[in-house]
């Protein structure tokens, strides 16, 4: 029983990180038709920015506060990078989806190589407040506290994104844009700002996932983002490109299946099961669980 609880919460925590990455991917694809490979680089940059600034912030005495400030800087870097990528690289290629995807492929290779050049290819210990690794007992299972942080972060992000999409003017434009971009433009609304905004949101969410992944794995290396990205892609497609809710459901399913199968069957089976799930979903429902609704 306690193993099951631990597996469930770990699966949810993993799903939480997948969701954070997938939500940005999904919004970007839904609104702009861009398959953003650079998302892996957003994750890596967010993680390393946090790690780097943590080591420079000696002035702050308390560990948790220093970590939170550093994480804030990491998220800011994610947002700035996301917006910059959209303005500098994606904007000149509007409507040329394949070229846009190609540019993001090039960018992700270049940025990750750059991080590797500066901080080396080896793993770095991630600075995590001690509290994260202490455990809380739930139904007899000892759960590391970081699992709760990851789940909470995803739930808050899901809530904030949903509220933003539902109740703000920009949210309305994005939702309308996902459904029919040509019509929104025809109504005289500047969709370009929404494009930049969606990239910035994706950048923040990806950087947050990166920070949490650093905590979850206890270390960072330049290629961590890429391996997370593949599962996030799978989540995005299963959930239906463009749907936040679909991504959330798919992320939970993928995280849990991966954990259960990896433990109860054998290590690696979970990853294969997820791939199989993707193939089955696409064959039964080619559009994913919830195609093209941004709410």
């Amino acid at each position: 029983m306690d193993t099951f609880v631990l597996l469930t919460l770990t699966g949810l925590a993993l799903g939480a990180m997948y969701f954070l990455i997938a939500s940005g991917l999904s919004l970007i694809y839904g609104l702009m038709g861009v398959l953003n490979f650079a998302h892996g680089a957003f994750i890596t940059v967010g993680t390393y920015a946090t790690w780097w600034s943590e080591s420079k912030l000696d002035a702050i005495g308390s560990d948790p506060l220093r970590f939170v400030v550093a994480a804030g800087i990491g998220l800011l870097c994610g947002a700035v990078l996301g917006a910059l990528v959209e303005i500098v690289l994606i904007r000149p290629l509007y409507q040329r989806h394949i070229e846009q995807a190609l540019v993001t492929v090039g960018l992700s290779l270049a940025l990750i190589a750059l991080v590797q050049g500066i901080w080396g290819p080896t793993e770095r210990i991630y600075p995590t407040p001690k509290w994260m690794y202490e455990t809380t007992s739930i139904l007899g299972a000892q759960i590391p506290n970081d699992r709760f942080v990851e789940i909470a972060a995803a739930v808050v992000t899901l809530g904030a994104l949903t509220a933003f999409l539902r109740y703000t003017r920009y949210g309305l434009i994005i939702r309308a844009g996902v459904e029919n971009r040509a019509m929104v433009t025809a109504l005289g609304i500047d969709v370009k700002k929404a494009f930049t905004l969606v990239f910035a949101i994706g950048g923040v969410a990806a950087a947050l996932a990166g920070v949490l992944a650093g905590v979850y794995f206890g270390s960072v290396d330049p290629h961590q983002g890429t391996s997370l990205l593949i599962f996030a892609f799978i989540v995005t497609v299963i959930g239906g490109l463009g749907s936040i809710t679909g991504s959330a459901v798919a992320a939970v399913a993928v995280g849990l299946i991966q954990q259960y199968a990896n433990y109860y069957a054998s290590s690696g089976t979970g990853d294969l099961a997820v791939v199989l799930l993707l193939a089955l979903t696409l064959l039964v429902k080619p559009g994913g669980l919830a195609p093209k609704v941004a709410h």
């Binding site: 989806h97 492929v105 090039g106 960018l107 593949i230 799978i234 294969l272 993707l278 193939a279 080619p286």
Partner: protein, 363 residues
């Protein structure tokens, strides 16, 4: 007339390449040693193999408009089965090759039939997922066959004597060249055949092909199987040249590298894709050595670090090419000097594949 000229050029280029192992030439640092030294010949062989593999990817992406993220899987089948068959199963080379060829045909037939039920980005994702499954399988190291992170070496006792030893690198070089020639001839023939014309029609407008009464699915599957099978053959040559299989060839990054090669060379062109594979492999291998050179080491840190990472240079080069030379290196040949010496593309080059997913069909 143009066709005859093309044949003459091809024969001349491949003929010159065949002479390389006979020429002792100082390469002035372009390669690490003389032109016909074993080290240089091995790198040249690799460049030729990847020229061929890039062309097989171009058959899919450039000529048929199928954006696959899983081509690495079929290459890896050739690499791993050759190594595992000779080493772990103790099979003779002919038996191993026959089995590899069988898998190289059946696997893409089955997986292609499944993935081609969806189109566009969904197709890319399914192929990515299948390739990822292959990568995980290799990593899991079932029965100790694939060797996990360490990989497997080819049992050199099983190879013909002329392929073993440093002195025989020239034979492997010729093998690589033969592979490239075979792929080049087959792709040329296939693209000009009547199914080949249908592939290009599918790339341009799949719905219209359907309206004409043809079934795109069959033609796409044909292209998928042919391209994958040739990639498997490339994997076999690669593993003979390198001497062992490593898990890098199974990763999605490897497929992305193929995509980069094709786009750098010129999508939907025959010489372009080959050139892209050759140039990419060359830079990927040599940039690392050049970065150790004194000129680079003396540069300030801000320049030295990026220049020491081959993928940073290649990634940046790739982005610049997408913007400023959409036709890739092959597009350079189409540059015509205009009055005042300004060069312009004489036609608007759109990347083939841009029409893969018409707006209405996007998921």
């Amino acid at each position: 007339m143009r066709r005859a000229l093309g044949i003459v050029v091809a024969v001349a280029v491949f003929g010159l390449l065949a002479l390389v192992p006979k020429v002792s030439l100082d390469t002035h640092g372009v390669f690490s040693s003389e032109l016909n030294s074993p080290g240089t010949l091995q790198l040249l062989g690799l460049m030729l193999v990847f020229g061929g593999v890039a062309l097989t990817y171009d058959l899919l992406f450039g000529f048929t408009g199928l954006l696959s993220f899983g081509h690495a899987l079929y290459f890896a089948v050739g690499v791993y089965l050759t190594a595992i068959g000779t080493t772990k199963w103790d099979w003779s080379l002919p038996k191993t090759l026959a089995f590899t060829a069988l898998v190289g045909l059946v696997l893409p037939l089955v997986l292609g039939a499944v993935s081609l039920r969806v189109a566009g980005i969904a197709f890319a994702m399914v192929t990515l997922a299948f390739a990822e499954a292959g990568s995980i399988l290799v990593d899991k190291n079932p029965h100790g066959w694939s060797g996990g992170e360490e990989g497997v070496a080819v049992a050199f006792q099983k190879l013909p004597e002329s392929f073993v030893g440093v002195l025989n690198t020239k034979n492997l070089y010729w093998l690589a060249l033969a592979y490239l020639v075979v792929v080049f001839v087959i792709v040329n023939w296939a693209v000009d055949s009547s199914p080949g014309r249908v592939w290009q029609a599918i790339r341009e407008n799949e719905r219209r092909v359907e309206v004409l009464g043809l079934q795109p699915f069959r033609f796409k599957l044909m292209a998928f199987v042919l391209s994958s099978f040739l990639a498997t053959a490339g994997g076999v040559v690669y593993v003979l040249l390198i001497g062992g299989a490593t898990p890098q060839v199974t990763t999605p990054s490897f497929t992305l590298a193929l995509l980069l090669m094709v786009v750098i060379g010129g999508t939907g062109t025959r010489w372009g894709a080959v050139l892209g594979g050759v140039v990419y492999t060359f830079l990927d291998n040599r940039l690392l050595d050049w970065s150790d050179s004194q000129t680079i080491q003396d540069l300030p840190k801000a320049l030295r670090i990026p220049l020491s990472e081959p993928l940073f240079v290649l990634g940046t080069l790739f982005i610049l090419l997408v913007y400023f030379l959409p036709g890739g290196l092959a597009g350079l040949a189409r540059l015509r000097p205009r009055r005042g010496g300004v060069a312009l593309l004489d036609e608007v080059t759109t990347t083939p594949g841009a029409t893969v997913e018409p707006e209405a069909e996007r998921v």
